[in-house]
Subunit: 411 residues, 2 copies
């Protein structure tokens, strides 16, 4: 079947999209960015760990709204909390009690934090945090890991369009897990560095995830303390997926500011930065506001979401389901003589095919899985959710087996 | 009554807020920024043009969620559209049909636009637009009006904390309604200017609104055409409050990109930039994405909101209610020998007291109105909504009369 035959509504709507939206679809699902033609382009509805595209095709979802739907789609408790607050209102001139209660919840949950602020996007918070670091230190330079994703603002976007050299004049990078390279950058800009920003493990798009080697983050941490540099953790993607107190607890280190977003609101838009007492005054001096930043529903939901993560031991579940998925994929791939590698924590796994630099094998694999109703992303880490159960994982492994056999047959 | 007696819950919650949030409340309602002590700090619920704070105090709202609630709080049709989409889902891996349909709606409604993109905050779109201009022109410089508010990103924030000189090295300003000053800036940076960004009228905080003088915007427009500079309209605050096709139609000029936000989603978080065909390719090259940017509910709501704005002739209603309010305030102030000035369009009026440079009179006036259940902001323009009716306006004028008499008595 041609794409026109298998997904006629998608093709028709995408043709309309192309005429009124630059590129038709932008961002991480842009068809211009190596997304297979068989992929769903437009969602129709979702429930649990499954969704349906506008052509009625059902998918087991291993992206979970790019990590936002940690409890699963249409989660009854979350929707009921949201409905209760919505009946009172969402967008006001002012914050609500949830604003204070969520800040209390985060500062009590996150060991080093004594304050919290809120935004909408992850970028809102990473960018604000580097400003707080500049305010606190009176310095300009930011050190980040080469290839790390911290959002779409000019200082860090993976895009190339529209940038000017001044956007990154004071942003310098070092290689992940390379303490020598980090120390060299530190020496090069001694006395000028406001902040070092890292993710808790390295999770670039188009590349394997890389866990921190022993001593690497400790080197960063101790250097920051010694030179009074603000140590920022971008925990937007992994936060509350590895540890209920933030990913620094999982890996055993202590940042000065942590940024959260994805797992906080189960799809209701909210992000947060939390920080140390010593940064409270500089934090109060960097202006932040947005038309919808005080919205009450996402804050009420975030409190509930964190409570459910604890109560239902969701982190253990994500780990177990991720392990089952990885073990199954490794086993069936071996059966067909195909070598794949799983990297990153099981809760956010990243799969690569050996010697697949062009990502063509991975794309063919994902396409074959999509055709069987399993949505794997070809170049971004995947996400498990509380709504994935063993039968869902096993169904995905069965689809993967057929995909491997097809790859094997084609080669 | 002391504030502790008149608003015990507010005082108690604010004390908790101060301990877990820098400054307790940040942004435009920060008590550190000239907000009277009698003000509501935390909202409890809202309906129509009224809301209640956590101490149960009722207010007629003349801020409307800082402009977001153009149809009023808890608008039945909007909430029903939102509920229908929510039952299908909100946050997916993909956009939905609403993404395409809203882009179609905006490009058919806005005369010069052939494409649209969406974000969450106003800043998301103004910042992205200047990047598109830089991409399109290969130039660096941005000209903006001195004191204009385009959001909280480093190139334009009204805050001072955390900035470095490079943030604004290529951002230069000229005075509103001063064509000579504009031309001088244009000459100074000839060949280097990527974009000129303006609001449709000048609406600074802590200052009177200023409508464009004849020929001023035309000078900007023709200069931009002549020098192939991208002309960006920040229509975030005024958009769809003055004209259903965008505020450039109200004033009679033609930008290359317009940014919208406030009136688009009746409180559901969404912003948009729309632009000319010639900018489609550069627009496709400036990466944009956010965890919640494709959320379906705000897009479904925005389509409905625009349709209701047309059907109910909301713009005429905002104008009529704004005029009634201004006329009433002018009349009762005159009765007490107090000179006030109303500036800006009636739908977004801005009130100042003569010779009140410290804003102390305005603060005392607003405090007295708040004590009678009318919420006027002391240094930001106000907003009317579709939910304000003559009786609400008249009640507000009665409260203002008592406030004027009190001011008069105190002086």
């Amino acid at each position: 079947m041609t794409p026109q035959e298998s997904r006629p509504k998608t093709e028709a709507l995408f043709a309309r999209a192309v005429s009124v939206i630059p590129g038709g679809i932008y961002g991480h699902m842009s068809p211009a960015h190596s997304i297979p033609e068989a992929a769903p382009y437009f969602a129709e509805r979702a429930e649990g760990c499954r969704y349906w595209d506008i052509d009625g095709r059902e998918f087991i979802d291993f992206m979970c709204g790019f990590g936002t739907m940690i409890l699963g789609y249409a989660h009854a408790e979350i929707e009921s909390v949201a409905a209760a607050q919505r009946a009172r209102g969402n967008c006001f001139n002012h914050p609500t009690q949830h604003f204070v209660e969520l800040a209390e919840e985060l500062t009590s949950r996150i060991d080093f934090a004594s304050w919290a602020v809120f935004g909408k996007n992850g970028s809102d918070m990473t960018t604000w945090s580097i400003q707080v670091a500049r305010e606190a230190t009176g310095r300009k330079k930011i050190l980040m890991v080469r290839g790390a994703y911290h959002g779409v603002d000019a200082w860090c976007t993976p895009g190339h369009g529209g940038l000017i050299p001044e956007d990154r004049l004071h942003v310098h990078s070092f290689c992940w897990n390379d303490a020598v390279d980090f120390k060299a950058a530190l020496d090069r800009y001694r006395g000028e560095i406001a902040a070092v920003i890292i993710t808790p493990f390295h999770h670039p798009a188009f590349g394997q995830s890389d866990m921190p080697e022993e001593g690497f983050i400790e080197t960063i941490e101790s250097s920051c303390r010694e030179q009074e540099i603000v140590f920022i953790l971008d925990d937007i993607r992994a936060g509350f997926r590895l540890h209920t107190g933030g990913s620094h607890r999982f890996f055993g280190f202590d940042p000065d500011i942590s940024c959260f977003c994805k797992a906080l609101g189960n799809g209701y838009p909210i992000s947060s930065a939390v920080g140390r007492e010593a940064l409270r005054v500089p934090a109060s001096k960097v202006f932040l506001t947005g038309s919808y930043w005080n919205n009450a529903v996402p804050m009420a939901v975030a409190k509930a979401c964190l409570r459910i993560l604890d109560r239902d031991r969701v982190i253990d579940h994500l780990d177990a389901m991720g392990r089952r998925l990885i073990d199954g994929l490794l086993e069936v791939s071996r059966r067909y003589g195909i070598e794949i590698t799983a990297s990153g924590p099981p809760a956010l796994p990243y799969i690569t095919f050996a010697e697949d630099r062009s990502f063509r094998l991975m794309q063919r694999f994902c396409r074959a899985c999509m055709e069987q109703g399993v949505f794997f992303h070809p170049h971004h880490n995947w996400f498990l959710s509380a709504a994935h159960h063993e039968t869902d994982i096993d169904q995905a492994i069965d689809a993967a087996e057929l995909a491997f056999s097809r790859l094997n047959h084609e080669n």
